[in-house]
């Protein structure tokens, strides 16, 4: 069953007959070639909002996801994470850029061929209840994708739907004839996963899939996603603002700020050696209790930036030539308004959480994004070049790219 000819003619057969291949994922499937599962180049999404008001939701995003890889996409609320995901899924029309899925360029596709390509990308949404049609029974919800594409007979669809329900950890005979409101949030999210798997996609976009769930249920859904990723050999784009979740599921992480990517790195690299000041701010926004104990004593799963990692960062900030008035010697106490999170840079890891919150005045609007580097109004390292020039994406260490004029470079150890 695991070695089907994946020709397009047999697509129907493949979808209906694909079942759990436990332990069968040896990484030797056809997708593992040179073509990445997803390639995004210069993606722009600008949404007109009334007269002459344009929301610059996504302004030139480059991303690529290898086959069976999980890319985490993090950033604060409103930075364009979800819009990026929706644009890739074809739910939002991009105003510019190129999206290629498994080598197929989406730009210029229309009608049926576009709908067909869209099938290879499926999305899991944040709100589990809203993701399901409240008037359709669970079984019907999972059979619907097959009905859309007229795959199989009703009996075959039914059998496949029941099988999928079982695969996502639901008991088919208990949930099949229920309506979404009769299930818990976690169960609804499982149904969403099953529906997304129906058409055997290549790429799964998870838009904050566990944010609306009870903490105790989050882990189960993450496990489920992990399992189906292996079973179905999926690539995943995992959008979240929860860094500890992203750290646990991702192979690589992209950090997004105001519609642009600031840093992309392998997950361990990013959490241990953040190079973009914004990434550092994000990492510091995670509340960590028991400051007096060493980081080694923290429970597993708790994200923590180790103290040694911060030393060189402080050094960089101090030793930067003071080309701008706003940044000079951190120790010399420059005006507060210019240095929103000066507090923790100075105090290092001991910094109180409150001082990491940006002032309301420095939170920029996507209606009129700042010039140059979009992070410069909030950045403690900003100089005059940051206000005028957009920093290019540079690969500073293998697989670690940063868009910053003054990256927080680590000494090679």
């Amino acid at each position: 069953m695991s070695t089907h000819n994946h020709s397009s003619a047999e697509n129907t057969h493949r979808i209906l007959s694909q079942s759990v291949e436990s332990g069968g994922s040896d990484g030797m499937n056809t997708n593992t070639g040179a073509t990445p599962a997803l390639e995004v180049e210069g993606l722009r999404v600008e949404i007109a909002q009334g007269f002459r008001r344009i929301v610059h939701a996504v302004s030139g995003v480059d991303l690529s996801i290898a086959a069976q890889e999980t890319l985490g996409l993090v950033g604060e609320s409103g930075c364009g994470k979800t819009t990026t995901g929706k644009a890739i899924a074809g739910l939002v029309k991009p105003t510019g850029g190129r999206i290629a899925i498994s080598g197929t360029d989406l730009t210029g596709l229309k009608g049926r061929s576009l709908r067909k390509v869209r099938n290879t990308v499926q999305m899991i949404f944040q709100d589990p209840i809203s993701s399901l049609n409240p008037r359709r029974k669970i079984l019907g919800t999972i059979m619907e994708p097959m009905a859309i594409w007229s795959i199989g007979s009703p009996e075959e669809r039914r059998a496949r739907a029941l099988e999928l329900l079982e695969q996502v950890g639901l008991e088919p005979h208990l949930v099949a004839n229920r309506l979404p409101y009769q299930l818990s949030g976690g169960q609804c999210q499982r149904v969403s996963v099953a529906r997304a798997l129906t058409l055997s996609p290549d790429l799964l976009i998870c838009d904050e899939p566990v944010s609306a769930l009870d903490v105790s249920v989050q882990a189960h859904i993450l496990n489920l996603l992990n399992d189906v990723q292996r079973t179905y050999r999926l690539s995943m784009l995992f959008i979240s603002h929860d860094l500890s979740v992203v750290r646990n599921v991702s192979d690589r992480v992209a950090v997004m700020y105001m519609g642009r990517i600031c840093e992309v790195a392998p997950v361990a690299d990013l959490f241990d050696h953040p190079m973009h000041p914004y990434t550092l701010e994000l990492l510091h926004s995670i509340p960590v209790h028991a400051r007096t104990t060493s980081s080694a004593g923290l429970p597993a799963g708790t994200t923590d930036v180790s103290a040694p990692a911060l030393e060189p960062i402080m050094a960089t900030a101090r030793n930067r030539p003071s080309t701008a008035t706003s940044v000079g010697n951190v120790d010399a106490e420059p005006p507060d308004t210019q240095q929103p999170f000066r507090g923790w840079l100075q105090a290092g890891i001991q910094g109180p959480i409150d001082s990491t919150l940006p002032d309301a005045a420095t939170i920029s609007s996507a209606l009129s994004p700042p010039s140059g580097c979009r992070y410069h109004p909030r950045c403690p390292c900003a100089t005059s070049i940051c206000t005028s020039e957009q920093p290019p994406m540079l690969e500073l260490s293998p697989g670690h790219t940063v868009a910053c004029h003054h990256p927080l470079i680590q000494p090679v150890s």
């Binding site: 949404f125 859309i148 189960h220």
Partner: protein, 312 residues
Amino acid sequence: MESPTPSSPIAASQEAASTMPYRDISLDQPSSAIPQARSAKGRTLGPVFWIAAGWIVLVALAAIFANLLPLPAPDAIGSGAPLAGPSLAHLFGTDELGRDILSRIIFGSRVSLILGFASIAIGTVIGGGLGLIAGYLGGPFDVVANALAYIVLAFPPLLLLLALAAFSRPTLLKLVAEFAFLSIAPLFRVVRAATISIASRDFVQAALSLGATRSRILMREILPSVLPSLVSYATLGVALVIVGEGSLAFLGLSISLPTPSWGNMIAEGRTFLATDPWISLFPAIAMFSVLLALNLVADRLSERLDVREGQV
């Protein structure tokens, strides 16, 4: 799931604490967390609905089979003594020309019911269809359709009907067309608003990414959620049209005599209100009871069809 089989509960909790935090199957077991099947409570329409719906059906059947009923003809002058009160021969009495009032009410219901249901049916199809499309597609079509709806709504409906009646003698067909036209805008707005709120839901987005066509999304994802508010609103619309016909008839601008309608019967009887009140009273009761029944049906339907969406 990799759950070790522990020897004691204490050992189990220690086991859980020491393994990875994401490997824990003690909670969210699908079988135990599923709520038990809902009882029939809240799923039935209740006796009030059935009494009200039964009354409407009875009135409609009487209207359809009026010719078969053992009644004097509605326009038979002198079938009884003029202005006679209710008696066994004439249950609802007779009017000033000796016509049987019960017969006239039953035949008159044809006008009210046909007008009410036909005009709203047309309005629902046109207004509802436009509302679905405008609400889902948005853009210039939505802007234009919405602006037109505002203009029609801003026009006083009775004034429009009076103006039209002044130009040409009202017939049933003309009245149906006029009321249908007037019902399009409000029904459009109701459906459009409901569509907009549903179209932004994630399940519509999911259907789109599954490759569903726009028409399929409209018919299978959005329409089922819009239908309850449309049905209950349309039912209220039928009642409003029946009242509207009554108002026009009272002004002498509805179906002209001798064809009876509830409205023109009430209007006719008002000269005898002090001495022979039943001439107006019985058609008024007929109209009142049907309107009440329609309102109750609308109310129960919207309650019943409104599927819960929140969590239990």
